[in-house]
Structures are given as C-alpha cells and as structure tokens.
Amino acid sequence: MGHHVSPIRQQWVTNTDYYAQITEDISRPIEAKPNLRWIAAFALSFLVLMLFVGAVTWTIWEGIGTWGLNKTVGWAFDITNFVFWVGIGHAGTLISAVLLLFRQAWRNSINRATEAMTIFAVICAGMFPIIHMGRPWLGLWFLPLPNTRGSLWVNFNSPLLWDVFAISTYFSVSLVFWYLGMMPDFGSIRDRMKRQGMKIGSKIFALLAMGWDGSNRTWSRYELVSLVLAALATPLVLSVHSIVSMDFATSVIPGWHTTIFPPYFVAGAIFSGFGMVQTLLIVQRYVYKHENYITLDHMESIAKIVIATGSLVGLAYMTEFFIAWYSGSIWERYIFINRAFGPYWWAYWIMFSCNVITPQIFWFKKIRRNMVITFIISIFINIGMWFERFVIIVTSLHRDFLPSSWAMYTPSWVEASILAGSFGLFFTFYFLFAKFLPTINMFEVKTLLHHPKQPKHTFEVGEAN
C-alpha cells in the first residue's frame, strides 16, 4: 500500500472490446440497404419539406401579405424561426469545439451527430432572413459586393448585416470542421467498401476522404487543423447568438432594447441546442442501437448542461423583470407586465414553464437516466425555446410606445406551414445524414476504449454484431 491509486476513469464506451467492432457498428448502416423504417421516416420528412417549399413559394408569389403580420407587428414567426434554428445550432459547436478544447472525452461519441445538427439547423435558420424579405430576389443586396449601382453599399450599422456575416462565418466554419472531422472515417468506410466490392460507394467515399491515408503525418496534421478550427469555432459559440440578439438589443423598442440580451441569448441558444441534442440522440441510440456509444452517462452529462443553462435562462427572465422595475421607465415596466399578463400571457407561461420549471426535475439522477422522461422534457424545451423568441418578438412589438398603434398578431396558415416545413427541411437533411454518413465519430470513439483486446481471429466484414 501507500502508492497512489488513480481513480478509475469513467467508461464512455460500454460492452465494446474491439476497435473493429466500432467500425462495424457505425459503418454497417451506411453500407446496408435502407430499411423500411428509414424510408418511412425520410418520406414523411420529405413530405413536410414539400409543405415548406409550397408555403414559401406561395409567399414569394403572392407577397408577405399571406402572413398574419401588420403595421405594428412586422416580424413574428419568420424571425422567431430564424432565432430558434440558429440557437439549435449552438449546442453542436459547443460540443465539438469547446468540449474538445476542454478535453471532455465524452463529447467524442456525440460530436458528429450534433455537428450535423448544427449544419442543418443553420441551413434552416439561413432560409428565414431571405424568406422574410418583401423582395427576396434582391437578397444579394445584403452582400457588400462591388457593384455598378452607383455608390450603393450596405449599411454596416445594421444588425441585420452583422447577422449576414455572423451566420455565414458560422456556417462555413462549422461545415469545414464537420467535414474535416469525417475524413478519417471516410477513409475507413472507403476501405471497407472496397473490400466488399462496393464500387460506387467506395469511389464516392474515396472522393470524400480526399486521399486520407492514415499515416502519422496525416494524423498529426489532422489534429493540428482540428485544434485550430476548434479555436476558431469557440468564439463563434458566443458571438453568433450575441449578434443575433443585437437585432433586438440595438433597437429602441421596449422589451428589445436591453443590454442583457447577448449573454441571455447565448445561454438560451445552448439550452435549446442541448434540448434538441437530447431529442436527436435518444432517437439515434434507440434506432441505431448505439447505447454502447451514447451511454446513459452521456445523456446524464447533457441533462446537467440543460439544467445549468435552463437555470441561467430562468435567471435572465427574472433579471429582465427586475431591471424593468428598477429602470423606472413606464415603457419597460409595461412591456414586461404585458408580456406575462397581457393578451399573450399564455405564450409567456408556456415559455416560462417549459424552459425554467420542467428542466428542474433533472436534479434527480433517476430522471436524468430515464430516457422516456428526458425525451419528453427535451420536446418541452424545444417548444419553450421557440416560444421564448416568439414572446420576445411579438409581445414587444404589439404594444410599444403609442397605444393608437397597438395591435394583435395572429399567424396565417402559410406561416404555420413554413414553421412546420422547416422541421421537414431539417429532418430531411438529418435522415440523409443518418443513412449515408457515419453518425458517430469512429476514430475518436476508439480512443475511449480502455483496454482494447485483440480479436481472437481476424474480423470479417459483417461478422461482429
């Protein structure tokens, strides 16, 4: 005795003994034919996507008049959806970049799926600033392109322009990071497919792998680049939603004009993102039987982040009320009283109970490890966070300074279809990803195996189950 015993490290991958088994588990669905369940799910998503396409086409054909907006409430579902989807993306970046820098090993099995979620959520988000324009065909005027239109230029004072830069930067960094992370796995799949004689598949993955050879030099370059990208992406976790929040914070409208917005929005974004991560991962570990990679411990860690960010969001809600009272400004006071007790009280209380109250039951370990309840709560969080943005946008606008212009907003079927359809867009992408790309980062998960055994015999493809 007397010597130091290091604590047993947490098992992030369970019931898995061999590297090859991991490769087999993750790659098999890509090589196999799609099963009926996938086809059904994909078809449904695609159908909903068509609803999106239809509703957007109608909007562009007829005009924004097909929505329920009016002279007082100029934004509602459109920007709510935008902020909602941008927020969703943040969890992915936090997991892939921030947790990488903090050497959180448990991120390894979930970063791929969450990064994919980020990409698709940002694609969904990016639709809305274009759709919501009165003349979307002039969208390129948002870009500071040298032009022949005289001295016309963009307005660098406008937060909407900051959005353009923030979102495009975010999207490109996330996309490169995601793609880069998949290259080693693409190499593995390419090799497997070649061995199985899948000519087309192996050619595609050969292209995607960009000549990945698994040499030490390749690996060391890979590690360096991903570290650099992680460092680049980390500030984006904070900056993107801060900038999105400035769409509101820099305005003069009571309820929008507040300095708390950047941290409040970032916390909310991470919160909502993790809510969506919970939803997606629970489905994934169930459908793909990934329980060994996405363990209950993973889900518990996520639940802990959810309770932390959820409480932060709750704190922000209460701070807003305090500051409204403390400011002594009747505009501020009124807008918050009206938010909670005015005609949109139901939206406020949906938001409050979904975001602040429900996550509190994650204090119980049993619940953190109960996937049915977690799934239900994650849906609540998604709903709550959507309503948060709705509440901020609509209740602030509908009763601002002059009571003569106070008005109510009721969404039209077109807006409802676009909202529903954006989920179609998201899940169409997500199901394509889940079928054709490795949903778990194989090589990183392999690093988590404690004492990988040598298989007793050489694995044949398709043998291990």
Binding site: I64, F142, V154, S251, V252, G342, A407, M408
Partner: protein, 1065 residues
C-alpha cells in the same frame, strides 16, 4: 451595220483557251466550297458543323424566337405632342380655379391635361384655402370607371340626338296636354343652373323645381321665417363668438359647410390670443364637434328641445326676460346655468347653433340668440347661405302628387336611395310618361329612369357657385369630357328649345356681376381675372373701403308668438324606450360619394372604423348588457328591423343608439359592392312635416353573432386600463401605466395657461432653447453645424386647432398615390395611410375628454429606422428629411419595427394588380381611368417595399427649383444658396387643413413661421421625447378653456368611474 466588238481585256482579245475555259462558267474562279466545308477547315476552326447541328441550331433559334415573342410585354405608349399646346409643358403642372359641387372654391392641379389634385382656393373669403375630406376625395369621382359613358335610353346606350328627340317629343305631348313637369334636385349652388332650370320649366303650364337635401336643413329656414320673416339659412359668424353652444350640431364635421366653420372656429381657439372662445356642446352622439368642445352634455334626442327651453329660461332669468313654460329638464352638472352664465357675459358675442331639423327647436334657438342680442352680430340673416335650400314641405308635396306627375327630371338627385320615400318614387317612376335622370354615375334612381342624360363631372363643366350671398366662385373645365356626356345645363337648355349654350348663359349672368365691380375693367378683363382667381364678389359682399363705416345690419325682431308655440311643442316631445340617432359620418356623409374608395377607407374620426356602418352603443349600456365590440345587434323600430355590428361609443347619451346614414348603397358602383352594409334611410320618418333624424321606441337584441369591422385603432386610451402599476399610489386616476405626459400635452384651463405659459408641457423652455430635462450620454454628435447653411425642414402641429376632420388624410392619399387596400386588409391592420389622426379618450367613459393627434413620419434626426436598414434604403437627407429609396428597399420591415411612432407602412401585397384590390384601389391596373388620378411625381410602390410620409418631397423639390428659377441662379449674390420663400411650399396635409393646424417650413430660416414657433412657442413639445429620436415634427399643447369649477366637476366624476373597463384597452 457593223457593231463594234468590245473586249474586256487582253485575255479576251487574245482568245486563249485557258481564258475561254474560264468564261464558259458563271463564276470565273472556283468558289472554294469544298475547302470551306472540308473537315480540315472545321478542324482548324475547332468545331464540326454538319447538317444535323445546323438543323438543331436553327430549330433552337426558331423556337427561342417564337417563345420570346409569346411573352406578353406591356405595351406603353409615349406619344409626343405633334403640336404642343401653348400652355402645357410636360412635367409642369397647370392650375385652374374651379369649385366643387359642395361649393368650395378650389384650385385644380392639372398635369398633362388631367386634373390630379384639388386644393382649397386660398383667395376664397369663405374657406380661406381649407378643404374637407369629401372635397379632397371628389377628384376621384371624375375618374370613376362606373360613370355613365353615354346617354341611356332604358338600359341601352343611345345617341344624344335620339335621346333628345325622344324627350322633346314626349315633352311636347305633355306640354300640349298641360301635364305636370317637375325637376327634383338637391340644393343647386349654381345660380346659372337654377336659371337654366327655370327657363326650361317656364315653357310648361304646371311646372316646378323641387329642391331637397338628403340631410335636410329645412327647419332652420322655416323657423327663421316664423321668427324673423326671412326664409333663409343665415351666415353664422363663429369667429365672432366668444361663447359658442352647439346643440345636436356637428358644425366641425358634417353640419352645413364644415370647412369654413372649422376655419372660423380655429380663429377663436388660438391660445396665443388674449381670449379663447368657450365651446359647449349638447348632443346625443359623440361628434367631431363634441369632442372638441370644452364642456359636453350628452342628452337624448327627445330631451334636446327641453334642454333648449331650460337654457332659454336660464338665460332669460338672468336677463330679467319672461321665461317659457316648461323647462323642468336639467342638464348634468347644472349645465344650463353654467352655459347661461357664460352666454350672458358674452351678449352679442355668443352664438347658439342648433342642428335639429325641427322648427320648434330652431325657433327656441332663435329665441336664445335673440335675447342675447346675437342677431345681426354673430348671425347675419341678411347674408344667407345657400348650401342647403331643400324644403321638406315641397318634397312632401311632390311625394303626394307623384302619381300625377307626367315628367320628372332628376338633376343631381337620388331620392330612391337617400330619402325615406324610396317606395313612392320607385313605383311612380315606373308609371311616369317621362322620367329622366341627369346623374353622372348610375344610382338607385337613374337605374329606374326611362332616360339618362349623363351630366359632366364638375371638373369637366362650366358653371358658377354662390354659396354665400354675394360671393361667387367660378366652375371651369379642367379636362376635356372623358365620356360622351353633356352638361346638365346644356341638356336643360336643349330641351327647352333654346339655342344658347350653357357657357354663354353663364357668361351673360356674370355680366351683371361685372357691373358691380368698381375697378372699371372691361368684361373680358373681369372674366379673365375671374377664371384666374376663381372668386368674384357682389358689391355688398366686398370688404368695406377703409374708413367707411357700414351700417350694422338691422336686427330682425323676434316673433314671440312663434316662440311660445315652439316651446309648448318642444315640451310635449316625449319618447318611450330607447332612441335611435341617425347621423352623418365625416367621410361618407349622405352617401352620395359612397362609391369613393378614399372616403370609404378614411377612418371615422371618433370610432376610427372604416368601410362599414355599425350601431353605436353607449358605454354604460354595453357594460350593463354585456354587449361587446362587433356583436351583431338586431335593432327594431316601428316594425322595421335592421342588424348591425355594435361599436361601443363613450360619450353617447344613455338610452340612445346611433346609426349612420349614407351606407348600404345598392347601386353605388363597384366600391360599395366591396362591403354590404346597413342602409339607414328607410328608418327616417317625417315629424310635423320635417324629416326627423331620430327615432323613439327602439328595441335592441343581441343576436349572438359577431361581424368583423375594420378598425384602425383598437386601443382608445393612453394606457392599458387592465394593468396597474404602483407608480402613483395616491389613488389618482394616474394609477396606471399612464403615457399621457409623453404623448399628449394638455392643459385644461386657458386662464391657468395664460398665467403660467411656461408650465404647459412640463419641460421648461421652448423646443429650440430648452434646457433638456433629459440627460443624454451622446451630446449632439448628430448635429452637424455645417448643415445650418442648408434648409432644415420641420413641422409644427397645433393640437388646439386640429379638429380631427380627416381632410389631411385624404389629401395625402391624393398627393402621394397612397394605395387603398380595402376592408379585409384594414381589418388586418394594414391600412396604408401616411398620416393618421390618433384619437384618445380620457376621463369618464360616459362623457370622455377627447384629443386628436395627427401622426406621420416624424423625420427624426436620430432616426431609429435609418440605422437598422441593412441596405441603406432609408437615409437622412442634408435637409433633415428621412428619405425612402423605394428601389433599394428589400423589405426586411426592421425599420417599421424600430419606429417608435409606427408610421411606416409596408406593401404587403401588390395593391395595384392583386385580384383582391380590383374593386377598391382606384390605381389598380385593371382600372385604366382610375389610374389617371395618380400623381406622376410620386412613384407607385411595388409589393415588398416600405413607404411612409416624405414631407411631400416632390413639392419641396418643385418649390426649390421654382425659387432658383425665380432668382435666375442657384446662388444668391452673397454666395449663399437660394432657398424658397417661407410659406411658398406647403405639404398636402398642411394645405388642406381648414384650421391651419399644421405649420411647415425651414427651421434654419430665422424668419420662418416654424422657426419662430420652435423658438418662442412654449406649447411646443415632441412626442416621446425621452426616446431621443429628435423628431422634426413638434406638437403644440392642447389648451381647453374650462373654468376651475368645471375642471373640478369633471375630475370628481372621473374619480367615481375609474377605468376598469377592458374594452377601452
């Protein structure tokens, strides 16, 4: 003969075989076809052409050309003048003086031969350049696509000759048989047209010209005949009345001639003067006038006469005159003695106006004015006005003999719609030998007539107007007749067999007037001057020469017998149950212009509702009976039933309901088809020989249904009465999120204001040299001193003068091509008005204080909209304008969201080509005629684009250019820029304002009126100044003229009924 043989060259002369071989071919050398088509060449050129490729390309080319030719490209014609008319310069407007049908002298602005805007004639001594909403909108009637395009015989179009000869033949027959010929018209303000009608009728043995008015004023003339022996409507000098009492009389909104009355009213309501009139209003509905009054007393229609007796007696007692029998009725707060005190103090300088069409009420009113000595001072019987000449008794007589009338001519008359005798006319017209309508547009009556001889629109006509005795204004054509129509005067002259044209008749009539001019000009000079100026005066109406004292008009003596008879009659009026008030709305009035979309979309000043008729319900009734806004009520009276949506109206007298006339047109054109709504004319009844605009014995039931109304303002107070704040715990009515101080500045006592003028808006100092009570971190980084050498446009709006009439709203519509969007869009809160008149209530809802606030783009120096536009579509000009570049706008709507005043308007649809807007928007592309009204200087906005008030930037530009042209240079001799003279540029809203509430000009010009106001006027403030948008529009505190006692009484009453009512919010 030997022909010389020419040779072409040595080769031919020599006849070498090589040469002979070449000449036998058409082309002496080979064309290198093979070489051209060889593969070698193709290789060299880098392509390979073969027959298939050629066919493919040709096919493609043909198809592409065909397809592109199929695309329907809009054809637009720009045809230059072959011979340019002398007086038309494309792009430069011409102005002609003319007059509207309502008798308002106007200047018509014409562009390239088409009138596009009417503005009040500033030379008119009657209206002083003001104009009301219906006048502003009347230009659209010219371009009404539903107008008659040719004469009609039955329901088919005909030729004028055919129609004329048929009518002449029938007239001859009637003449020979000595049949009855009648002309039915509204009040004709044109003396020449009246004489044309008279000369037409002169040819018949039994002929009569019957005049009626849909809203009858017949009782006034009748009462004056009884009281003073003069059957006239006198001139009222509101501008001479220090105490003004209105009884059921909306003289600022609808009664008689509101434009001139408003302008006179405003003269006495200027707090800058040493004295301000005190205005009492006794009425059943909350009218525009009542909402401007200092004190207002809601009474039921059946009590109005009794209230007048009480008022008479209160005055008489103070003056020691005999009182009238009765008078037990008492106004709230001891109103009659309150009013009598003031009236007696202002003897000879007070005025009681009564708008009840009941001779008894009018006679008692005459009595009050008589004992106060107002006759001949504020009421001038010797200068009658002719706005309303209708006689109810004449009309009754006509209705009685309708079945025996042989020929009836409807000259600007539509009795099938706008009288209670629709049935009588309908059946009589069918059986009549000759029925002719001279309407300009199909209406309920013309649809039944055998012939329609369509009249010109007034803008196509010659004519004259004498609305006030001795003051003439001319009507001259501003455009060639658009359709195959003929002026009514010409039609009458033609049918009377005369060969003169109406224009000649007119001129000869004006010869007489020429004789009264003292300037010694020839008639042609006089006539030219009249056409330029639009106005001429008879001798007695001309202003007196300096120093020459005019004899005061002899005060008529009041017939006391008539008075006591009237009193006993008024006293007898009793009514059981609920009562119904039938009233006119400011926009639609009597319904003649119900087809005018600008007027339909003009929100009612009080209810702020557009497009529909509705039943107004007193606040208290609604509360007690659980009636909600938009509940459909079934109202039955005298066996008639109507259903209509409820609008809860604070200030309406308990026990009454209100219903507007002028709606429910069955044949009012395409616009009226847009909404089907209630026609109230059948509910009118005759009472003692006069049309009564109220009914008693009304029952009202809820139907349980609701009907959607298009209301542009659903919050009516300056706070949300359902939300309390502990801000002012003393229990005062400020115990709410009260925004009043930030938005409306208001002082209840004129005397207090005069004592402490600096205290009015809580912010000491005036707008320009005020020491700000607000601290800012950003000290004036926005203000560029260098900009001082430019113009800086600014506006000041006097809340004391704004009566809420809505003339500016329609004027802006016309000037700036603002789209009409129709009921559905208004209901979605998407009306496009660039200027709106916000109306707020305060105090007890049973009788609230009302304030109007015109609101348009404030052209903020720190404009929140400008910073947020990502594409710089809205920017600040050097001259302080907040400008919209429509072409650059991509429609993010961020600017509108960030506008604290919510004045930005978004084009949700393409309002000029969407199917839903075909019948409502006159500028719709399917309406070729309606589009003529568009102002070519202002872009029609496309969908997806934001728009808002531009301070009429096109007028500013025009004014600046004119100033430079006048100066002959863009620089003054001292090197400074040439600026337009102050007052030379007027915005459309400012120009049309009958009370002059809007002042506009260059703030950097120290001599401009607006600069003086900003510098010196202590009433000036900005709306929500705290947000520090630094607006270029300022408002001037509303000063009411109440006594300390009155203020206390109102406050006590308000305390009693705290606002606990969700509806108001």
């Amino acid at each position: 003969m030997n022909t010389p043989k020419y040779w072409r060259g040595i080769e031919e002369l020599e006849q070498k075989p090589e040469f002979l071989a070449t000449v036998k071919d058409e082309f002496p050398t080979d064309i290198p076809m093979d070489q051209q088509l060889s593969e070698v060449t193709e290789e060299k050129l880098g392509f390979k052409a073969n027959r298939r490729d050629f066919l493919k390309l040709m096919g493609f080319g043909l198809t592409a050309a065909t397809l592109s030719a199929c695309v329907e490209t809009p054809k637009k014609f720009a045809i230059p003048y072959v011979e340019k008319p002398d007086d038309i310069i494309p792009g430069v407007a011409n102005y002609y003086a003319t007059s509207t049908l309502e008798g308002i002298s106007v200047i018509a602005k014409c562009r390239e031969g088409r009138p596009i805007k009417l503005e009040g004639n500033p030379d008119s001594p009657v209206t002083q350049g003001g104009m009301d909403a219906i006048g502003q909108a009347s230009i659209l009637n010219l371009y009404d696509i539903d107008r008659y395009q040719a004469p009609m015989s039955g329901s088919t179009t005909a030729e004028w000759d055919a129609v004329d000869s048929e009518i002449a033949a029938k007239l001859k027959e009637i003449k020979n048989s000595g049949g009855k010929v009648r002309i039915l018209s509204r009040s004709l303000l044109s003396p020449s047209l009246r004489s044309a009608a008279a000369s037409f009728l002169a040819g018949f043995a039994d002929a009569k010209h019957v005049t009626y008015d849909p809203i009858s004023y017949s009782a006034i003339a009748e009462a004056n005949e009884k009281s003073f022996g003069k059957k006239v409507i006198p001139s009222y000098h509101i501008n001479k009345a220090k105490v003004l009492v209105g009884v059921g009389c909306d003289f600022l909104g609808t009664w008689l001639e509101p434009t001139s009355q408003s302008s006179q009213y405003a003269e006495m309501r200027d707090p800058a003067h040493s004295q301000m009139s005190r205005h009492y209003q006794i009425e059943s509905m909350l009218s525009t006038t009542g909402s401007n009054a200092d004190m207002r007393f809601p009474v039921k229609p059946s009590d109005t006469g009794k209230a007048l007796i009480s008022l008479y007696n209160a005055v008489a007692r103070q003056l020691g005159k005999p009182t009238l029998p009765g008078g037990s009725f008492s106004l709230t707060m001891g109103g009659e003695s309150m009013i009598a005190n003031d009236l007696v103090k202002a003897q000879g300088a007070s005025l009681v106006l009564c708008g009840i069409n009941d001779p008894a009420c009018q006679t008692i009113t005459n009595g009050i004015n008589d004992i106060l000595g107002n006759m001949g001072k504020t009421i001038d019987l010797n200068t009658p006005v002719y706005y309303k000449q209708g006689s109810d008794s004449d009309m009754m007589e006509l209705v009685g003999e309708l079945n025996s009338v042989d020929a009836l001519f409807f000259l600007d008359a539509n009795p099938v719609y706008d009288t209670p005798f629709a049935g009588a006319f309908e059946s009589a017209i069918k059986g009549m030998k000759l029925s002719v309508s001279l309407a300009t547009k199909p209406d309920e009556t013309s649809a039944l007539c055998a012939y329609v001889a369509p009249d010109h629109n007034f803008l196509e006509s010659w004519g004259d107007v004498m609305a006030v005795e001795g003051i003439y204004s001319v009507v001259q054509p501003t455009i060639n007749p658009i359709y195959n129509t003929r002026q009514a005067g010409d039609s009458l002259l033609k049918w009377s067999g005369a060969s003169t044209k109406f224009a000649d008749l007119l001129k000869s009539n004006w010869q007489a007037l020429h004789g009264q001019q003292a300037d010694g000009s020839s008639f042609q000079e006089f006539w030219d001057k009249v056409l330029r100026k639009g106005i001429a005066m008879a001798k007695k109406a001309q202003p007196p020469v300096e120093g020459e004292e005019t004899a005061p008009a002899a005060a008529a003596t009041m017939d006391s017998a008539a008075l006591s008879a009237a009193a006993s009659q008024a006293q007898q009026t009793s009514a059981s149950g609920y009562e119904l008030v039938l009233y006119e709305k400011v926009g639609i009035r009597d319904g003649r212009y119900a087809g005018n979309p600008w007027l339909q979309e003009l929100p009612d000043p009080i209810t702020r509702t557009t497009w529909d008729n509705y039943i107004t319900v007193p606040f208290q009734y609604a509360k007690e009976n659980g009636v909600k806004q938009e509940d459909v009520l079934k109202l039955s009276v005298g066996g008639q039933e109507i259903e209509g949506a409820a609008v809860i109206l604070p200030g309406q007298a308990m026990g009454t309901f209100g219903l507007a006339l002028g709606y429910g047109r069955k044949n009012g054109g395409r616009t009226t088809k847009h909404v089907e709504t209630i026609d109230a004319y059948p509910l009118l009844e005759m009472r003692d020989g006069n049309v009564a605009y109220s009914r008693a014995g009304v029952t009202v039931d809820k139907t349980g249904r609701t009907y959607p109304l298009a209301c542009v303002q659903t919050f009516h107070t300056l706070f949300d009465p359902t939300k309390k704040t502990p801000r002012k715990p003393e229990g005062s009515i400020d115990n709410y999120f009260d925004r009043t101080e930030e938005i409306i500045s208001e002082v209840e006592s004129f005397e207090e204001y005069k004592k402490h003028p600096e205290a009015v808006n809580g912010h000491a100092g005036t707008a320009l040299n005020k020491k700000h009570h607000l601290i800012t971190l950003w000290e004036s980084h926005y203000r560029d001193k260098a900009a001082d050498r430019y113009i800086r446009w600014a506006m000041a709006i006097d809340l004391n003068k704004c009566t809420g009439c809505g003339a500016c709203v329609v004027s802006c519509h016309a000037e700036n091509n603002v789209s009409v969007v129709g009921k559905e869009e208004v209901r979605k809160r998407r009306e496009m008005h660039w200027i709106r008149i916000d109306r707020y209530y305060s105090g007890a809802p049973e009788n609230p204080n009302v304030v109007f606030q015109p609101m348009m783009c404030q052209h903020c120096d720190n404009a929140p909209c400008e910073t947020v536009c990502p594409v710089l579509a809205t920017i600040h000009s050097q001259e302080g304008l907040n400008q919209m570049a429509y072409n650059r706008c991509v429609g993010t709507r961020y600017c509108a969201n960030n506008c604290p005043y919510k004045v930005r308007r978004f084009n949700w649809y393409n309002y000029v080509n969407g199917d839903d807007f075909q019948n409502v928007n006159p500028a719709h592309e399917t309406n070729p005629l309606g589009r003529f009204v568009l102002n070519p200087d202002v872009t029609v906005r496309f969908r997806g684009v934001m728009e808002k008030c531009s301070f009429c930037v096109q007028r500013l530009q025009e004014g600046k250019l004119k100033a430079k042209i006048r100066a002959g240079s863009s620089l003054n001799p001292d090197g400074s820029a040439v600026k337009p003279e102050d007052g030379s540029i007027k915005t459309a809203c400012q120009q049309s304002c009958p009370t002059g509430a809007i002042v506009f000009g260059d703030l950097n010009d120290p001599n401009s009126e607006v600069h003086k106001l900003y510098k010196e006027n202590d009433r000036l403030y900005h709306v929500i100044e705290e947000v520090k948008t630094l607006p270029s529009v300022a408002y001037m505190t509303k000063i009411r003229n109440r006594t300390a006692d009155q203020i206390k009484q109102i406050e006590e009453r308000t305390e009693e009924v705290m606002f606990e009512n969700e509806w108001l919010g």
